[in-house]
């Protein structure tokens, strides 16, 4: 078997597993959050699996101290599939993303793919990325 054939069949096997196997593979997801300007509080990341739960009920959440311009947030066991990440910096440590009286966020935030909305948050599709069944890393910027 040559290399190409091997890769193709491995890909097909992986695809088959991810579609048909009830035991979907989980791996480590690393999210690199850049452009942290105020070194205070925590960077909070939420992972969503589809448009219905987007910015509502996250599949997983994790955080890290906002102690550098670049912060890494890791998720140990993320099943392969499609995800979108929403990130905010809890500058004052009150456990929520603060907004002003008109509902405009007053703490830094960002989304996977650096997706941006016009007059509101981006859609799930604009922020979605593929989590492989091996370790995966993505980068995004806080605004």
């Amino acid at each position: 078997m040559n290399a190409t054939k091997f890769q193709k069949s491995a890909f097909a096997a992986a695809l088959a597993l991810s579609v048909f196997s009830p035991l979907s593979h989980a791996a480590e997801l690393t999210i690199e959050v850049n452009n942290i300007t105020e070194l205070k509080g925590s960077v909070m990341v939420a992972l969503y699996v589809n448009g219905e739960t987007w910015l509502g009920k996250p599949a997983q959440g994790n955080g890290a101290p906002a102690n550098a311009e670049k912060v890494i947030v890791k998720f140990a066991d993320v099943p392969a599939g499609t995800y979108a990440a929403a990130v905010y910096q809890d500058v004052n440590g009150n456990g929520k993303m603060d907004s002003n009286v008109m509902g405009i966020p007053t703490e830094p935030f960002g989304f996977s793919n650096n997706a941006a909305g016009r007059f509101g948050p981006p859609k799930f599709d604009a922020a979605k990325f593929l989590m492989a069944d091996t370790a995966t890393a993505i980068k995004l910027d806080l605004n």
């Binding site: 603060d98 002003n100 009286v101 008109m102 405009i104 966020p105 007053t106 650096n114 016009r118 605004n143």
Partner: protein, 507 residues
């Protein structure tokens, strides 16, 4: 042409193209058009791009600066219109440059410094324009997280208890250092009011209390009351019919007065990428809505209708002895000045008849709470803008309004802006005016009261003008009650700056 010639000339062409600076290769019609227009109409220099801070330690003076005129004139206005060979499509988009003219015993010095807003820094880093509010979408827009992403801090500047703020219309006030003019950052009046719109026309009562508004486009208007120490006393959201642009407002002793133009946004045009200016529609049917709010209870409100119109600016409001409210404003028939004139100015289109969009008139309004009726009369028959009153009469009965104005009823042919100033008695219509001449484009002129005087208007009128002949900026000082006599002194900057919007003087 033989082959050899052909080859060498095409090589020259190829080599030459890499030597042409990036801007000359650009095909942005606004960037190129403005430069072409400037050759035909030097007055367009009043809207030319500035790309760095400026300073002058001793400006040349003609005449004699009055010995009692000491202090700082702070000004603000859009000054950087271009990045990476691309020019904004609307005057209002330019990054704000705060200027300070300091009047000292040694003479007059001048500093102009860009407000380093989030927008300024993001665009500077990107090396290109990344945001547009009024002029239509830019290519590859930079991310927007809220109104402050686009905050150009370019509309006015005010000092409250020695803190100086550069103001915009849609977002936070930006604090700058009173001496160096270095940017400190967006002002947060209260945690849950961070990033809220704080407009560029705060009203300061003679006892130092500051009232301001913000927003309005989504039907919520923020009303702020700040005490003379610069602390927020109260901030409230007031519901109004959504309005296209609530630029200015009025106060009296007891009331906040909001006037909503007959203007709305065409949401379809906005969705198609039109800027706010082009998407703003003024109809000839919808009346202008006047809303009065009691200062001590903002939910105590009355509403009035005025004939249709469009307004940016107000002079002043006051209550009469019989309980009526009177105010003056500058009325336009349409918002064409926003959509057409400013586009033409930015594009260098010298074929535009600027009189069309500039047709404005000062009006005097009376609101009668007993009958619920509003009435208005024209103050005088002259195209005007940038009304300014004596700071000692804000919210109180006033007699004089100072405007930038046309020499005759209309702008002269080919003039792109006003070349004159005037003082009008709003009760009698009597006028005292001065015309700089056709080489000039003037900006707002401000009344500076004389120390120890008490009479309204007793002071100096101070303002800058762009001299198209020298391509330089000049600041003139007038006896405010004798404008026709001409300036008593003039200050000449060694550079030309675009004309600005608004400012204040602090003794």
């Amino acid at each position: 042409m033989n082959r050899r010639h052909f080859l060498s000339s095409s090589i020259a062409l190829a080599a030459g193209s890499s030597l042409i600076p990036a801007w000359a290769q650009a095909v942005d019609p606004y960037y190129v058009g403005f430069r072409e227009g400037l050759k035909k109409l030097p007055a367009l220099g009043a809207f030319a791009n500035v790309s760095s801070d400026v300073a002058c330690s001793a400006a040349r003076i003609e005449g004699k600066i009055p010995a009692a005129l000491r202090g700082v004139l702070y000004r603000n206005g859009p000054a950087q219109f271009e990045r990476g060979g691309v020019r904004h499509h609307h005057w209002f988009e330019g990054d704000g440059m705060v200027q300070a003219y300091r009047f000292t015993d040694e003479g007059v010095n001048h500093t102009g410094k860009f407000v380093r807003t989030k927008k300024f820094k993001a665009e500077e880093k990107a090396g290109r324009l990344g945001y547009s509010v009024f002029g239509g979408r830019v290519e590859n827009p930079l991310p927007v997280t809220g109104p402050d992403s686009m905050n150009a801090a370019n509309t006015s500047v005010i000092a409250i208890n020695n803190a100086v703020y550069a103001l915009w219309e849609g977002g936070s006030a930006y604090e700058v250092d009173p001496v160096t003019l270095n940017t400190k950052g967006p002002k947060v009046w209260a945690p849950d009011w961070a990033g809220m719109p704080f407009s560029a026309h705060p009203k300061v009562t003679p006892d130092g209390n500051v009232w301001n508004i913000g927003g309005g486009w989504n039907g919520d208007v923020a009303v702020y009351h700040i005490n003379p120490q610069g602390e927020l006393v109260n901030a409230t959201l007031v519901k109004v019919p959504p309005t296209a642009m609530l630029h200015d407002f009025l106060i009296t002793e007891n009331f906040v007065v909001l006037v909503l133009s007959s203007a709305s946004f065409d949401s379809k045009a906005m969705a198609n990428g039109e800027g706010m200016a082009a998407a703003m529609k003024v109809d000839l049917v919808t009346p202008m809505r006047v809303i009065t709010l009691a200062k001590n209870n903002l939910s105590d409100r009355k509403e009035y209708d005025l004939p249709n119109g469009f307004v940016f600016h107000f002079g002043n409001a006051f209550e009469t002895r019989t309980g009526q409210i009177m105010f003056d404003y500058v009325r336009f028939d349409s918002a064409s000045i926003m959509a057409d004139n400013m586009k033409a100015i930015m594009k260098g289109d010298t074929t535009t008849d600027f009189r069309q969009g500039s047709r404005s008139q000062a009006m005097l309004v009376t609101l009668d709470p007993k009958t619920g009726k509003a009435s208005q009369t024209a103050v005088f028959n002259r195209m005007v803008e940038m009304p300014n009153v004596d700071p000692r009469v804000v919210g109180k009965r006033h007699q004089y309004v100072f405007h930038t104005s046309a020499k005759e009823t209309e702008l002269s042919d080919r003039a792109i802006g006003f070349a004159g100033i005037s003082r009008v008695d709003i009760h009698s219509g009597r006028t005292d005016a001065y015309d700089y001449g056709t080489d000039y484009v003037v900006e707002e002129h401000i009344l500076v009261p004389k120390p120890r005087s008490t009479r309204e208007g007793e002071g100096w009128l101070v303002g800058a003008a762009y001299n198209a002949k020298t391509q330089m900026t000049e600041l003139a000082i007038f006896e405010a009650l004798a404008l026709a006599a001409g300036p008593v002194a003039k200050v000449f900057l060694p550079y030309g700056l675009p004309i600005g919007f608004h400012g204040h003087f602090y003794a």
